[in-house]
């Protein structure tokens, strides 16, 4: 958002759910230990449950990432697949931190990330 100057109307930036999801997906895939994103049928059908803001608007989750933007915040849900040899807890936390940081830097939103590790593949 720009400061209102003399005669210049304020700019309000809206970021769509899809954009947040795309950025989140790209960043999640870059985290070491993330082998792939995986579409979660359950998420797509039921919507992202349990968000801090009580948001239950269903979002598309075809590529393993769902996002809901609500005002100044975004709820992101990421479903990943990893391989044996990575600590799941550390990996999940890394994904949460890195995706939140990247999306926040890109959109200026306050981001909360939920991670599900759907599968742990053999080494």
């Amino acid at each position: 958002m720009t400061e209102p100057g003399a005669g210049v109307p304020p700019v309000r930036m809206h970021v769509s759910d899809a954009v947040v999801a795309r950025v989140a997906a790209q960043q999640a895939q870059r985290v070491p230990g993330v082998v792939a994103l995986r579409a979660d049928l359950g998420q797509a059908l039921l919507g992202i449950a349990g968000s801090v803001l009580g948001q239950d608007r269903p979002t598309l989750s075809a590529d393993g990432v769902g996002a809901t933007v609500n005002g100044r915040s975004a709820e992101v849900s990421v479903t990943i697949v990893t391989r044996l040899g990575h600590n799941c807890r550390d990996l999940a936390q890394a994904v949460q931190r890195e995706v939140a940081a990247e999306v926040s830097a890109y959109t200026a939103l306050d981001v909360h990330v939920q991670v599900t590790i759907a599968d742990i593949l053999p080494p």
């Binding site: 985290v31 070491p32 230990g33 040899g85 990575h86 600590n87 550390d90 990996l91 936390q93 890394a94 931190r97 890195e98 940081a101 990247e102 830097a105 599968d119 053999p122």
Partner: protein, 200 residues
């Protein structure tokens, strides 16, 4: 922007452990329990062990390799979804035969019936790729004759004559009585023999 590395974690040391044994060696009961609890690797071992027999059944019942592949594929996915319901009352192979049989019968019933005259025209040329499934002319004739059998007769006959199963297992697989199974096999034999009579 801080970036915390997620380095691979070394596996716990087990000094006298053998190199990780392959689940290929596992007994069937262990594999089944694992698969029931969602272990895809265990399911894969089970499926690989049984797939040749199940494919043979599907190929002989459907009379077409492409449909047999579809039947096998869908039956294996079926089996995964329903494996929690396998109680161990019968052997796992019997249960798998049943899943494939049900899938094949469903496909056969949905098939557009082919008039008998057309079946004759469908005999492939002697050196065509389709003949790779039938190695000789009389076997090709038997294959065609099989396709002319009503599906319930065909299934029982294939399970008995080609898969070598006993009447009890076939009854379990088809849900019919042993008496009915015996009758169907006999009727199938008589019909097939009639078609095969001109062949040496």
């Amino acid at each position: 922007m801080e970036r915390a590395p997620a380095r691979p974690v070394p596996w716990p040391e087990v000094p006298d452990a053998e190199p990780v044994p392959s689940p290929d060696e596992l007994d069937e009961q262990t594999l089944v329990v694992r698969a029931q609890e969602g272990d895809v690797g265990a399911f894969e071992v089970l499926a690989r062990r049984h797939q040749a027999a199940l494919y043979r059944l599907a190929a002989r019942v459907m009379g077409d390799p492409t449909e047999a592949e579809d039947a096998l594929q869908e039956a294996l996915i079926d089996a995964w979804r329903r494996i929690a319901r396998f109680r161990g009352d019968s052997a796992f192979s019997t249960w798998m035969y049943r899943v494939v049989t049900n899938r094949c019968i469903g496909m056969l019933r949905r098939r557009r019936p082919v008039p008998v005259a057309e079946i004759d025209d469908q005999l492939p040329a002697p050196d065509s790729p389709e003949r790779s499934v039938e190695l000789d002319a009389s076997m090709a004739a038997l294959g065609r004759a099989l396709r002319g059998l009503r599906e319930d007769l065909r299934v029982c006959w294939v399970l008995r004559e080609l898969e070598g199963l006993g009447y009890t297992d076939i009854a379990t697989i088809t849900g019919a009585s042993e008496d009915a199974v015996r009758g169907r096999i006999h009727r199938a034999r008589v019909q097939l023999a009639e078609v095969m009579r001109p062949w040496r």
